[in-house]
Protein backbone atom coordinates (compact mmCIF):
# COMPACT_ATOMS: atom_id res chain seq x y z
CA UNK A 1 0.00 0.00 0.00
CA UNK A 2 1.16 3.51 -0.73
CA UNK A 3 -0.31 6.57 0.84
CA UNK A 4 -2.22 9.24 -0.99
CA UNK A 5 0.62 11.75 -1.05
CA UNK A 6 3.10 9.20 -2.37
CA UNK A 7 0.58 8.25 -5.05
CA UNK A 8 0.46 11.88 -6.13
CA UNK A 9 4.26 11.99 -6.35
CA UNK A 10 4.46 8.99 -8.61
CA UNK A 11 4.10 9.63 -12.32
CA UNK A 12 1.52 7.76 -14.35
CA UNK A 13 3.10 4.95 -16.35
CA UNK A 14 2.57 3.85 -19.92
CA UNK A 15 2.32 0.17 -20.63
CA UNK A 16 5.70 -0.98 -21.95
CA UNK A 17 6.37 -4.14 -23.92
CA UNK A 18 9.11 -6.31 -22.41
CA UNK A 19 12.49 -6.67 -24.08
CA UNK A 20 13.15 -10.33 -24.91
CA UNK A 21 16.63 -11.43 -23.85
CA UNK A 22 19.30 -12.27 -26.43
CA UNK A 23 22.87 -13.52 -26.42
CA UNK A 24 25.84 -12.06 -28.27
CA UNK A 25 29.23 -13.69 -28.87
CA UNK A 26 31.86 -11.01 -28.28
CA UNK A 27 35.14 -10.64 -30.18
CA UNK A 28 36.99 -12.51 -27.45
CA UNK A 29 34.63 -15.48 -27.75
CA UNK A 30 32.79 -14.78 -24.51
CA UNK A 31 28.99 -14.73 -24.58
CA UNK A 32 27.14 -11.69 -23.31
CA UNK A 33 23.53 -12.05 -22.24
CA UNK A 34 21.48 -8.92 -22.88
CA UNK A 35 18.24 -8.72 -20.91
CA UNK A 36 15.89 -6.32 -19.24
CA UNK A 37 16.71 -5.44 -15.65
CA UNK A 38 14.08 -5.11 -12.96
CA UNK A 39 13.70 -2.51 -10.25
CA UNK A 40 14.75 -5.16 -7.74
CA UNK A 41 18.19 -5.16 -9.34
CA UNK A 42 18.81 -1.44 -9.05
CA UNK A 43 20.65 -1.63 -5.73
CA UNK A 44 23.10 -4.18 -7.12
CA UNK A 45 23.75 -1.96 -10.12
CA UNK A 46 24.21 1.15 -8.00
CA UNK A 47 26.85 -0.60 -5.91
CA UNK A 48 28.78 -1.45 -9.05
CA UNK A 49 28.42 1.97 -10.67
CA UNK A 50 29.29 4.02 -7.62
CA UNK A 51 33.12 3.70 -7.81
CA UNK A 52 33.05 4.63 -11.48
CA UNK A 53 31.53 8.01 -10.71
CA UNK A 54 34.96 9.17 -9.54
CA UNK A 55 36.73 8.10 -12.73
CA UNK A 56 37.69 11.16 -14.74
CA UNK A 57 38.31 9.25 -17.96
CA UNK A 58 36.33 9.54 -21.19
CA UNK A 59 33.41 11.15 -19.31
CA UNK A 60 32.85 7.99 -17.27
CA UNK A 61 32.29 10.19 -14.21
CA UNK A 62 29.39 12.18 -15.62
CA UNK A 63 27.82 9.23 -17.45
CA UNK A 64 27.93 6.94 -14.43
CA UNK A 65 26.82 9.67 -11.99
CA UNK A 66 23.81 10.54 -14.12
CA UNK A 67 23.00 6.88 -14.71
CA UNK A 68 23.18 6.36 -10.95
CA UNK A 69 20.63 9.12 -10.44
CA UNK A 70 18.37 7.85 -13.23
CA UNK A 71 18.33 4.31 -11.82
CA UNK A 72 17.62 5.64 -8.35
CA UNK A 73 14.84 7.78 -9.82
CA UNK A 74 13.41 4.65 -11.45
CA UNK A 75 13.59 2.68 -8.22
CA UNK A 76 11.92 5.47 -6.27
CA UNK A 77 9.22 5.90 -8.93
CA UNK A 78 10.27 9.40 -9.84
CA UNK A 79 10.96 8.87 -13.55
CA UNK A 80 8.15 8.08 -15.92
CA UNK A 81 8.25 5.07 -18.26
CA UNK A 82 11.89 4.22 -17.64
CA UNK A 83 13.48 0.91 -18.54
CA UNK A 84 16.96 -0.54 -18.16
CA UNK A 85 18.82 -3.24 -20.10
CA UNK A 86 21.94 -4.96 -18.87
CA UNK A 87 24.69 -7.02 -20.46
CA UNK A 88 26.30 -9.74 -18.38
CA UNK A 89 29.27 -11.96 -19.15
CA UNK A 90 29.56 -15.07 -16.98
CA UNK A 91 27.02 -13.38 -14.72
CA UNK A 92 29.17 -10.30 -14.20
CA UNK A 93 27.76 -6.94 -15.18
CA UNK A 94 29.45 -5.82 -18.42
CA UNK A 95 27.32 -2.79 -19.22
CA UNK A 96 24.07 -0.92 -18.68
CA UNK A 97 21.82 1.11 -20.96
CA UNK A 98 18.64 2.95 -20.07
CA UNK A 99 16.03 5.25 -21.52
CA UNK A 100 12.34 5.97 -21.35
CA UNK A 101 9.21 6.44 -23.39
CA UNK A 102 8.44 10.13 -23.76
CA UNK A 103 5.06 9.21 -25.21
CA UNK A 104 3.77 6.39 -27.41
CA UNK A 105 5.67 7.58 -30.48
CA UNK A 106 8.85 9.08 -29.06
CA UNK A 107 11.59 7.55 -27.01
CA UNK A 108 14.37 9.19 -25.05
CA UNK A 109 17.76 7.53 -24.82
CA UNK A 110 19.48 8.21 -21.51
CA UNK A 111 22.85 6.57 -20.98
CA UNK A 112 25.16 3.79 -22.13
CA UNK A 113 27.82 2.61 -19.72
CA UNK A 114 30.30 -0.10 -20.74
CA UNK A 115 32.05 -1.58 -17.72
CA UNK A 116 33.91 -4.14 -19.79
CA UNK A 117 35.87 -2.22 -22.40
CA UNK A 118 37.58 -3.02 -25.67
CA UNK A 119 35.06 -5.53 -27.06
CA UNK A 120 32.27 -3.16 -28.13
CA UNK A 121 29.97 -3.92 -25.23
CA UNK A 122 28.72 -0.33 -25.42
CA UNK A 123 28.02 -0.59 -29.13
CA UNK A 124 26.04 -3.80 -28.66
CA UNK A 125 24.04 -2.45 -25.74
CA UNK A 126 23.23 0.83 -27.45
CA UNK A 127 22.03 -1.20 -30.44
CA UNK A 128 19.86 -3.28 -28.08
CA UNK A 129 18.40 -0.08 -26.67
CA UNK A 130 17.48 1.15 -30.15
CA UNK A 131 16.04 -2.29 -30.93
CA UNK A 132 13.85 -2.02 -27.83
CA UNK A 133 12.50 1.40 -28.76
CA UNK A 134 11.81 0.65 -32.41
CA UNK A 135 10.91 -3.04 -32.50
CA UNK A 136 9.35 -3.77 -29.12
CA UNK A 137 8.05 -0.42 -27.88
CA UNK A 138 7.04 0.24 -31.52
CA UNK A 139 8.11 3.87 -31.42
CA UNK A 140 8.68 6.13 -34.40
CA UNK A 141 11.85 7.78 -33.23
CA UNK A 142 14.35 8.00 -30.41
CA UNK A 143 15.93 11.26 -29.23
CA UNK A 144 19.60 10.97 -28.43
CA UNK A 145 22.49 13.11 -27.25
CA UNK A 146 26.10 12.14 -26.63
CA UNK A 147 28.02 13.30 -23.62
CA UNK A 148 31.41 12.08 -24.83
CA UNK A 149 33.32 12.15 -28.13
CA UNK A 150 33.27 8.35 -28.09
CA UNK A 151 29.49 8.42 -27.85
CA UNK A 152 29.27 10.93 -30.67
CA UNK A 153 31.35 8.68 -32.93
CA UNK A 154 29.41 5.56 -31.93
CA UNK A 155 25.90 6.94 -32.33
CA UNK A 156 25.86 10.08 -34.45
CA UNK A 157 28.49 9.00 -36.97
CA UNK A 158 28.29 5.20 -36.96
CA UNK A 159 24.51 4.86 -37.47
CA UNK A 160 24.40 7.74 -38.71
CA UNK A 161 21.80 9.72 -36.76
CA UNK A 162 20.04 12.79 -38.05
CA UNK A 163 19.89 16.14 -36.30
CA UNK A 164 16.72 17.19 -34.55
CA UNK A 165 17.98 20.38 -33.04
CA UNK A 166 14.52 21.80 -32.52
CA UNK A 167 14.06 19.28 -29.69
CA UNK A 168 15.85 19.98 -26.43
CA UNK A 169 16.87 16.61 -24.98
CA UNK A 170 15.91 15.96 -21.36
CA UNK A 171 19.53 15.54 -20.35
CA UNK A 172 20.09 19.20 -21.17
CA UNK A 173 23.27 20.08 -22.93
CA UNK A 174 23.43 19.58 -26.67
CA UNK A 175 20.28 19.56 -28.79
CA UNK A 176 18.83 16.21 -29.82
CA UNK A 177 19.76 13.91 -32.60
CA UNK A 178 17.25 11.35 -33.71
CA UNK A 179 17.08 7.70 -34.71
CA UNK A 180 14.08 7.12 -36.96
CA UNK A 181 12.58 3.78 -37.93
CA UNK A 182 14.10 4.22 -41.35
CA UNK A 183 17.59 4.90 -39.96
CA UNK A 184 17.25 1.99 -37.59
CA UNK A 185 16.32 -0.58 -40.19
CA UNK A 186 19.10 0.61 -42.51
CA UNK A 187 21.66 0.25 -39.71
CA UNK A 188 20.24 -2.96 -38.29
CA UNK A 189 22.07 -5.48 -40.51
CA UNK A 190 25.50 -4.22 -39.44
CA UNK A 191 24.86 -3.01 -35.90
CA UNK A 192 22.02 -4.95 -34.29
CA UNK A 193 22.99 -8.55 -33.65
CA UNK A 194 22.18 -11.27 -31.17
CA UNK A 195 20.54 -14.68 -30.93
CA UNK A 196 17.12 -15.51 -29.52
CA UNK A 197 15.88 -17.37 -27.65
CA UNK A 198 18.56 -17.52 -24.98
CA UNK A 199 18.86 -21.06 -23.60
CA UNK A 200 17.45 -21.12 -20.04
CA UNK A 201 20.74 -22.30 -18.55
CA UNK A 202 22.59 -19.40 -20.18
CA UNK A 203 19.95 -16.89 -19.15
CA UNK A 204 20.17 -18.19 -15.60
CA UNK A 205 23.83 -17.18 -15.46
CA UNK A 206 22.76 -13.55 -15.64
CA UNK A 207 20.83 -13.79 -12.33
CA UNK A 208 21.63 -12.34 -9.91
CA UNK A 209 23.77 -9.54 -11.31
CA UNK A 210 27.28 -10.04 -10.06
CA UNK A 211 29.93 -7.40 -9.53
CA UNK A 212 33.00 -7.60 -11.79
CA UNK A 213 36.33 -7.48 -10.01
CA UNK A 214 36.57 -3.82 -9.04
CA UNK A 215 40.29 -3.40 -9.70
CA UNK A 216 40.08 -5.11 -13.09
CA UNK A 217 37.09 -2.99 -14.07
CA UNK A 218 38.68 0.31 -13.07
CA UNK A 219 42.01 -0.49 -14.71
CA UNK A 220 40.24 -1.55 -17.88
CA UNK A 221 38.23 1.66 -18.01
CA UNK A 222 41.35 3.73 -17.39
CA UNK A 223 43.80 2.02 -19.69
CA UNK A 224 42.54 -0.18 -22.41
CA UNK A 225 40.33 1.89 -24.59
CA UNK A 226 41.10 0.81 -28.12
CA UNK A 227 41.18 3.30 -30.92
CA UNK A 228 42.47 2.49 -34.34
CA UNK A 229 44.85 4.37 -36.56
Amino acid sequence: MIDELEAMLRPPVLEMAPYPPKSIVLANGQTMVVRQASIDEVDAMLRIIQPVTWLNRDFYDIVSARLFAELLGWKKYRVRNEYCLVGTVNGELAGIVNGRMFDEQHGVSYHTLALKRGVRVGAHLFAAKMEHHIEYLKQDEVWIVAESPIGHRRWMIEYPLQTKFEVQHELGGAPSWVLTRDTYFKAKPRLVTGTRPVPPELLATSYPIREPDLQTMLVQIEDTLEARI
Partner: protein, 394 residues
Protein backbone atom coordinates in the same frame (compact mmCIF):
# COMPACT_ATOMS: atom_id res chain seq x y z
CA UNK B 1 83.65 -0.30 -39.03
CA UNK B 2 83.58 -1.67 -35.50
CA UNK B 3 81.16 -4.39 -34.47
CA UNK B 4 78.33 -2.91 -32.41
CA UNK B 5 76.18 -4.55 -29.78
CA UNK B 6 73.02 -3.81 -27.87
CA UNK B 7 74.02 -3.93 -24.22
CA UNK B 8 70.85 -2.78 -22.49
CA UNK B 9 67.15 -2.52 -23.22
CA UNK B 10 64.13 -0.95 -21.56
CA UNK B 11 60.52 -0.24 -22.26
CA UNK B 12 57.42 1.26 -20.70
CA UNK B 13 53.99 -0.27 -20.57
CA UNK B 14 52.21 0.43 -23.86
CA UNK B 15 48.66 1.70 -24.00
CA UNK B 16 47.41 4.98 -22.69
CA UNK B 17 50.13 6.75 -20.77
CA UNK B 18 49.50 8.16 -17.35
CA UNK B 19 52.59 10.33 -17.68
CA UNK B 20 54.07 12.92 -20.01
CA UNK B 21 56.01 11.88 -23.10
CA UNK B 22 59.28 12.94 -21.52
CA UNK B 23 58.60 11.00 -18.35
CA UNK B 24 57.82 7.88 -20.40
CA UNK B 25 61.08 8.29 -22.29
CA UNK B 26 62.97 8.69 -19.01
CA UNK B 27 61.39 5.50 -17.67
CA UNK B 28 62.41 3.46 -20.72
CA UNK B 29 65.90 5.03 -20.84
CA UNK B 30 66.46 4.47 -17.15
CA UNK B 31 65.52 0.81 -17.52
CA UNK B 32 67.92 0.42 -20.46
CA UNK B 33 70.77 2.12 -18.58
CA UNK B 34 70.17 -0.09 -15.55
CA UNK B 35 70.04 -3.15 -17.78
CA UNK B 36 73.40 -2.22 -19.33
CA UNK B 37 75.21 -1.82 -16.03
CA UNK B 38 77.00 1.26 -17.31
CA UNK B 39 78.32 2.21 -13.89
CA UNK B 40 80.24 5.48 -14.14
CA UNK B 41 80.62 5.26 -17.88
CA UNK B 42 79.22 8.30 -19.68
CA UNK B 43 76.73 8.15 -22.52
CA UNK B 44 78.31 9.95 -25.47
CA UNK B 45 75.21 10.58 -27.55
CA UNK B 46 71.45 10.33 -27.38
CA UNK B 47 69.30 9.63 -30.44
CA UNK B 48 65.57 10.07 -29.94
CA UNK B 49 62.94 8.78 -32.35
CA UNK B 50 59.60 10.52 -32.51
CA UNK B 51 57.09 11.44 -35.18
CA UNK B 52 54.50 13.75 -33.74
CA UNK B 53 55.40 15.40 -30.43
CA UNK B 54 55.44 18.92 -31.84
CA UNK B 55 51.88 18.49 -33.05
CA UNK B 56 50.35 16.14 -30.49
CA UNK B 57 52.19 17.10 -27.32
CA UNK B 58 53.39 20.62 -28.08
CA UNK B 59 56.96 19.50 -27.48
CA UNK B 60 59.98 19.70 -29.75
CA UNK B 61 63.69 19.09 -29.24
CA UNK B 62 63.01 15.86 -27.37
CA UNK B 63 66.59 14.61 -27.37
CA UNK B 64 67.84 17.80 -25.71
CA UNK B 65 65.02 17.56 -23.18
CA UNK B 66 65.86 13.93 -22.42
CA UNK B 67 69.54 14.73 -21.86
CA UNK B 68 68.55 17.49 -19.50
CA UNK B 69 65.93 15.52 -17.59
CA UNK B 70 68.26 12.55 -17.14
CA UNK B 71 71.35 14.63 -16.43
CA UNK B 72 73.29 13.09 -19.30
CA UNK B 73 75.32 16.23 -20.06
CA UNK B 74 77.32 16.81 -22.18
CA UNK B 75 76.03 14.00 -24.43
CA UNK B 76 75.31 14.92 -28.03
CA UNK B 77 71.57 14.91 -28.71
CA UNK B 78 69.62 14.41 -31.93
CA UNK B 79 65.92 13.91 -32.54
CA UNK B 80 65.13 11.80 -35.60
CA UNK B 81 61.84 11.96 -37.50
CA UNK B 82 61.29 9.44 -40.27
CA UNK B 83 57.58 8.71 -39.95
CA UNK B 84 56.76 5.27 -38.53
CA UNK B 85 60.36 4.24 -39.34
CA UNK B 86 61.77 6.89 -36.98
CA UNK B 87 62.71 4.22 -34.44
CA UNK B 88 64.88 2.18 -36.77
CA UNK B 89 66.33 5.39 -38.25
CA UNK B 90 67.45 6.58 -34.83
CA UNK B 91 68.86 3.13 -34.17
CA UNK B 92 70.74 3.23 -37.46
CA UNK B 93 72.21 6.65 -36.65
CA UNK B 94 73.29 5.39 -33.24
CA UNK B 95 74.80 2.31 -34.82
CA UNK B 96 76.77 4.42 -37.33
CA UNK B 97 78.02 6.63 -34.54
CA UNK B 98 79.42 3.68 -32.59
CA UNK B 99 80.57 1.64 -35.61
CA UNK B 100 82.53 4.60 -36.95
CA UNK B 101 84.26 5.16 -33.65
CA UNK B 102 82.77 8.62 -33.31
CA UNK B 103 80.96 7.54 -30.13
CA UNK B 104 81.42 4.69 -27.71
CA UNK B 105 78.19 4.51 -25.75
CA UNK B 106 74.93 5.64 -27.31
CA UNK B 107 71.39 5.77 -25.95
CA UNK B 108 68.64 5.28 -28.55
CA UNK B 109 65.19 6.11 -27.25
CA UNK B 110 61.86 6.05 -29.07
CA UNK B 111 58.81 7.73 -27.63
CA UNK B 112 55.37 8.68 -28.79
CA UNK B 113 52.32 9.87 -26.91
CA UNK B 114 49.47 9.69 -29.38
CA UNK B 115 46.60 9.35 -26.93
CA UNK B 116 46.93 12.97 -25.88
CA UNK B 117 44.77 13.71 -28.94
CA UNK B 118 41.60 11.90 -29.93
CA UNK B 119 41.78 9.07 -32.46
CA UNK B 120 40.42 11.17 -35.32
CA UNK B 121 43.28 13.62 -34.81
CA UNK B 122 45.73 10.73 -34.45
CA UNK B 123 44.55 9.29 -37.77
CA UNK B 124 44.91 12.71 -39.34
CA UNK B 125 48.40 13.18 -37.96
CA UNK B 126 49.61 9.80 -39.24
CA UNK B 127 48.14 10.53 -42.67
CA UNK B 128 50.48 13.54 -42.95
CA UNK B 129 53.06 11.04 -44.20
CA UNK B 130 51.08 10.38 -47.39
CA UNK B 131 51.82 12.31 -50.59
CA UNK B 132 50.47 15.79 -49.96
CA UNK B 133 49.09 16.46 -53.44
CA UNK B 134 48.44 12.98 -54.81
CA UNK B 135 46.98 11.37 -51.67
CA UNK B 136 46.49 13.54 -48.60
CA UNK B 137 44.37 16.27 -50.20
CA UNK B 138 41.95 13.58 -51.38
CA UNK B 139 41.40 12.36 -47.85
CA UNK B 140 43.65 9.32 -48.01
CA UNK B 141 44.39 7.80 -44.62
CA UNK B 142 46.72 4.95 -43.74
CA UNK B 143 43.82 2.49 -43.28
CA UNK B 144 42.62 3.62 -46.70
CA UNK B 145 45.97 2.94 -48.35
CA UNK B 146 46.28 -0.38 -46.55
CA UNK B 147 42.78 -1.34 -47.68
CA UNK B 148 43.61 -0.63 -51.33
CA UNK B 149 46.78 -2.66 -50.94
CA UNK B 150 44.91 -5.49 -49.21
CA UNK B 151 42.21 -5.64 -51.90
CA UNK B 152 44.80 -6.00 -54.67
CA UNK B 153 46.73 -8.55 -52.65
CA UNK B 154 43.64 -10.61 -51.96
CA UNK B 155 42.58 -10.66 -55.59
CA UNK B 156 46.02 -11.54 -56.86
CA UNK B 157 47.19 -14.08 -54.29
CA UNK B 158 44.04 -15.56 -52.78
CA UNK B 159 44.47 -14.02 -49.37
CA UNK B 160 41.08 -13.91 -47.59
CA UNK B 161 39.60 -12.04 -44.66
CA UNK B 162 40.08 -15.28 -42.72
CA UNK B 163 43.84 -15.08 -43.29
CA UNK B 164 43.87 -11.50 -42.07
CA UNK B 165 41.89 -12.55 -39.00
CA UNK B 166 44.41 -15.36 -38.36
CA UNK B 167 47.18 -12.76 -38.11
CA UNK B 168 45.15 -10.72 -35.64
CA UNK B 169 44.22 -13.76 -33.53
CA UNK B 170 47.85 -14.95 -33.43
CA UNK B 171 49.23 -11.58 -32.42
CA UNK B 172 46.53 -10.98 -29.80
CA UNK B 173 47.34 -14.39 -28.31
CA UNK B 174 51.02 -13.42 -28.20
CA UNK B 175 50.21 -10.02 -26.70
CA UNK B 176 48.31 -11.73 -23.94
CA UNK B 177 51.66 -13.14 -22.77
CA UNK B 178 53.45 -9.78 -22.89
CA UNK B 179 52.73 -7.81 -19.73
CA UNK B 180 53.75 -4.57 -21.44
CA UNK B 181 51.43 -5.00 -24.42
CA UNK B 182 48.69 -2.47 -25.07
CA UNK B 183 45.99 -5.00 -25.92
CA UNK B 184 45.85 -8.00 -23.65
CA UNK B 185 42.66 -9.72 -24.72
CA UNK B 186 42.36 -12.79 -26.86
CA UNK B 187 40.03 -12.80 -29.85
CA UNK B 188 38.42 -15.68 -31.70
CA UNK B 189 37.54 -16.39 -35.32
CA UNK B 190 33.87 -16.73 -34.36
CA UNK B 191 33.97 -13.45 -32.46
CA UNK B 192 35.61 -11.35 -35.15
CA UNK B 193 34.68 -12.97 -38.45
CA UNK B 194 32.54 -16.07 -38.76
CA UNK B 195 29.97 -15.70 -35.97
CA UNK B 196 26.61 -13.95 -36.39
CA UNK B 197 27.65 -11.10 -34.09
CA UNK B 198 31.02 -10.48 -35.74
CA UNK B 199 29.64 -7.78 -38.00
CA UNK B 200 29.23 -5.49 -34.99
CA UNK B 201 32.22 -6.80 -33.01
CA UNK B 202 34.51 -6.17 -35.94
CA UNK B 203 33.07 -3.48 -38.20
CA UNK B 204 34.57 -2.31 -41.43
CA UNK B 205 37.21 0.39 -41.07
CA UNK B 206 38.09 0.55 -44.72
CA UNK B 207 36.85 -2.42 -46.69
CA UNK B 208 38.33 -5.11 -46.82
CA UNK B 209 39.98 -4.15 -43.54
CA UNK B 210 38.02 -4.44 -40.34
CA UNK B 211 38.58 -3.07 -36.85
CA UNK B 212 40.75 -6.00 -35.77
CA UNK B 213 42.89 -5.72 -38.90
CA UNK B 214 44.21 -2.39 -37.66
CA UNK B 215 46.68 -1.69 -34.88
CA UNK B 216 45.67 0.41 -31.89
CA UNK B 217 46.74 4.00 -31.29
CA UNK B 218 49.25 3.66 -28.48
CA UNK B 219 51.50 5.57 -26.16
CA UNK B 220 54.83 4.02 -25.32
CA UNK B 221 58.56 4.39 -25.11
CA UNK B 222 61.46 2.01 -25.60
CA UNK B 223 65.18 2.46 -25.28
CA UNK B 224 68.42 0.61 -25.86
CA UNK B 225 72.11 1.16 -25.28
CA UNK B 226 74.67 0.60 -28.04
CA UNK B 227 78.36 0.00 -27.47
CA UNK B 228 81.29 -1.38 -29.46
CA UNK B 229 81.58 -5.17 -29.25
CA UNK B 230 84.81 -5.12 -27.26
CA UNK B 231 83.22 -2.94 -24.61
CA UNK B 232 79.95 -4.87 -24.72
CA UNK B 233 81.51 -7.87 -23.01
CA UNK B 234 82.39 -5.68 -20.03
CA UNK B 235 79.00 -4.04 -19.81
CA UNK B 236 76.59 -6.81 -20.41
CA UNK B 237 76.16 -10.44 -19.54
CA UNK B 238 74.20 -11.13 -22.71
CA UNK B 239 75.04 -8.63 -25.47
CA UNK B 240 73.26 -8.82 -28.80
CA UNK B 241 75.22 -8.03 -31.93
CA UNK B 242 73.90 -5.71 -34.62
CA UNK B 243 74.64 -8.00 -37.55
CA UNK B 244 73.06 -6.12 -40.42
CA UNK B 245 71.07 -3.01 -41.28
CA UNK B 246 69.52 -2.23 -44.64
CA UNK B 247 67.37 0.60 -45.85
CA UNK B 248 65.31 1.06 -48.99
CA UNK B 249 63.04 3.73 -50.37
CA UNK B 250 60.24 3.75 -52.90
CA UNK B 251 57.88 6.25 -54.54
CA UNK B 252 56.04 8.51 -52.13
CA UNK B 253 52.68 8.04 -53.86
CA UNK B 254 51.68 4.39 -53.86
CA UNK B 255 49.93 4.56 -57.24
CA UNK B 256 53.21 5.52 -58.95
CA UNK B 257 54.67 2.07 -58.27
CA UNK B 258 54.68 -0.25 -61.28
CA UNK B 259 53.03 -2.91 -59.14
CA UNK B 260 51.54 -1.58 -55.90
CA UNK B 261 51.48 -5.09 -54.39
CA UNK B 262 55.29 -5.13 -54.49
CA UNK B 263 56.87 -3.69 -51.34
CA UNK B 264 60.14 -2.98 -53.10
CA UNK B 265 61.64 -1.00 -50.25
CA UNK B 266 61.05 -3.91 -47.87
CA UNK B 267 62.76 -6.28 -50.28
CA UNK B 268 65.75 -4.00 -50.83
CA UNK B 269 66.16 -3.20 -47.15
CA UNK B 270 65.95 -6.88 -46.23
CA UNK B 271 68.45 -7.95 -48.89
CA UNK B 272 70.92 -5.31 -47.73
CA UNK B 273 70.52 -6.31 -44.09
CA UNK B 274 71.04 -10.00 -44.85
CA UNK B 275 74.03 -9.18 -47.06
CA UNK B 276 75.68 -7.14 -44.34
CA UNK B 277 75.01 -9.87 -41.79
CA UNK B 278 76.26 -12.63 -44.08
CA UNK B 279 73.05 -14.51 -43.38
CA UNK B 280 69.98 -15.63 -45.32
CA UNK B 281 66.30 -15.62 -44.38
CA UNK B 282 66.64 -19.31 -43.57
CA UNK B 283 69.02 -18.44 -40.71
CA UNK B 284 66.42 -16.33 -38.93
CA UNK B 285 64.66 -17.85 -35.93
CA UNK B 286 62.34 -14.99 -34.92
CA UNK B 287 61.02 -11.85 -36.60
CA UNK B 288 59.24 -8.69 -35.52
CA UNK B 289 57.45 -7.33 -38.57
CA UNK B 290 55.57 -4.06 -38.95
CA UNK B 291 51.96 -5.29 -38.77
CA UNK B 292 50.25 -1.91 -38.54
CA UNK B 293 47.63 -3.71 -40.64
CA UNK B 294 47.32 -7.48 -40.73
CA UNK B 295 47.95 -7.64 -44.47
CA UNK B 296 51.39 -6.08 -43.94
CA UNK B 297 52.64 -8.97 -41.82
CA UNK B 298 51.84 -11.37 -44.64
CA UNK B 299 53.28 -9.17 -47.39
CA UNK B 300 56.45 -8.27 -45.47
CA UNK B 301 57.12 -11.91 -44.62
CA UNK B 302 57.27 -12.58 -48.35
CA UNK B 303 59.29 -9.53 -49.38
CA UNK B 304 61.83 -10.24 -46.64
CA UNK B 305 62.41 -13.62 -48.27
CA UNK B 306 60.92 -15.89 -45.63
CA UNK B 307 58.26 -17.23 -47.99
CA UNK B 308 57.77 -17.09 -51.77
CA UNK B 309 55.71 -14.18 -53.08
CA UNK B 310 52.02 -14.85 -52.59
CA UNK B 311 52.57 -17.70 -50.13
CA UNK B 312 52.90 -15.94 -46.81
CA UNK B 313 49.27 -16.65 -46.00
CA UNK B 314 49.84 -20.35 -46.67
CA UNK B 315 52.67 -20.41 -44.13
CA UNK B 316 50.28 -18.72 -41.73
CA UNK B 317 47.71 -21.44 -42.37
CA UNK B 318 50.34 -24.08 -41.62
CA UNK B 319 51.11 -22.42 -38.30
CA UNK B 320 54.70 -21.66 -39.26
CA UNK B 321 54.54 -18.11 -37.87
CA UNK B 322 53.09 -19.12 -34.50
CA UNK B 323 55.30 -18.62 -31.44
CA UNK B 324 56.21 -22.32 -31.55
CA UNK B 325 56.35 -22.48 -35.34
CA UNK B 326 59.26 -22.64 -37.76
CA UNK B 327 59.54 -18.83 -37.93
CA UNK B 328 57.71 -17.10 -35.10
CA UNK B 329 56.55 -13.67 -36.26
CA UNK B 330 55.66 -10.98 -33.75
CA UNK B 331 55.87 -13.06 -30.56
CA UNK B 332 55.64 -9.77 -28.64
CA UNK B 333 52.15 -9.21 -30.07
CA UNK B 334 53.51 -6.96 -32.80
CA UNK B 335 52.07 -3.56 -33.53
CA UNK B 336 48.68 -5.23 -33.55
CA UNK B 337 48.63 -6.09 -29.85
CA UNK B 338 51.80 -4.77 -28.23
CA UNK B 339 50.87 -1.43 -29.75
CA UNK B 340 52.12 1.12 -32.23
CA UNK B 341 53.40 4.38 -30.80
CA UNK B 342 54.52 5.29 -34.30
CA UNK B 343 57.88 7.00 -33.80
CA UNK B 344 58.85 4.52 -31.12
CA UNK B 345 57.93 1.30 -32.90
CA UNK B 346 61.28 0.63 -34.58
CA UNK B 347 63.07 0.83 -31.23
CA UNK B 348 60.50 -1.36 -29.50
CA UNK B 349 60.87 -4.03 -32.20
CA UNK B 350 64.63 -4.13 -31.57
CA UNK B 351 64.12 -4.25 -27.82
CA UNK B 352 61.75 -7.20 -28.24
CA UNK B 353 64.15 -8.98 -30.56
CA UNK B 354 67.03 -8.45 -28.12
CA UNK B 355 64.96 -10.00 -25.32
CA UNK B 356 64.25 -13.01 -27.53
CA UNK B 357 67.91 -13.50 -28.45
CA UNK B 358 68.95 -13.15 -24.80
CA UNK B 359 66.30 -15.63 -23.72
CA UNK B 360 64.74 -12.96 -21.52
CA UNK B 361 61.31 -12.67 -23.12
CA UNK B 362 59.59 -14.55 -20.32
CA UNK B 363 56.16 -15.96 -21.14
CA UNK B 364 56.45 -15.08 -24.81
CA UNK B 365 59.95 -16.46 -25.24
CA UNK B 366 60.25 -18.36 -28.50
CA UNK B 367 60.93 -21.93 -27.31
CA UNK B 368 63.57 -22.67 -29.95
CA UNK B 369 65.88 -19.96 -28.45
CA UNK B 370 66.82 -18.43 -31.83
CA UNK B 371 70.35 -17.26 -32.61
CA UNK B 372 69.37 -14.63 -35.18
CA UNK B 373 66.39 -12.29 -35.38
CA UNK B 374 65.02 -9.86 -37.93
CA UNK B 375 62.90 -6.72 -37.94
CA UNK B 376 61.16 -4.62 -40.55
CA UNK B 377 60.27 -1.04 -39.61
CA UNK B 378 57.96 0.25 -42.30
CA UNK B 379 57.91 4.00 -42.94
CA UNK B 380 55.30 5.87 -44.93
CA UNK B 381 53.28 3.35 -46.83
CA UNK B 382 56.41 1.40 -47.66
CA UNK B 383 58.36 4.32 -49.08
CA UNK B 384 61.10 4.24 -46.46
CA UNK B 385 61.89 0.93 -44.82
CA UNK B 386 64.65 -0.23 -42.52
CA UNK B 387 65.41 -3.89 -41.90
CA UNK B 388 67.72 -5.10 -39.16
CA UNK B 389 69.34 -8.42 -38.35
CA UNK B 390 70.42 -9.04 -34.76
CA UNK B 391 72.49 -11.99 -33.57
CA UNK B 392 73.05 -13.54 -30.17
CA UNK B 393 76.40 -12.75 -28.53
CA UNK B 394 79.36 -10.75 -29.83
Amino acid sequence: MRDVAIVGVGSTQFGRAQWSLLKMMCEASHEAIQDASLGDRKIDAVFVANMGSARNNRMAGLASALVDRMNLYPAAAETIENGPASGASAFKMGFLGVASGFYDVVLVCGGERMREVNNLEATEFVSFLSHRYAEYVYGVTLPGLAALFARMYMERYGVTNEHLAMVAIKNHANGLLNRKAHIRDSITMEGILTGPDAINNNPWVSEPLRFYDCCPVSDGSSALILAPANLAKELCRKPVRVAGIGQGTDTHAVHERPDPTELTAVRIASQKAFHMAGLTPQDIGVAELHDAFTILEIAESEEAGFFPKGEGHKALERGETQINGRLPINPSGGLKARGHPVGNTGVSQLVELSLQLRGDAGKYQVPSRPKHGFTVNFGGFGNNVIATVLSEGV
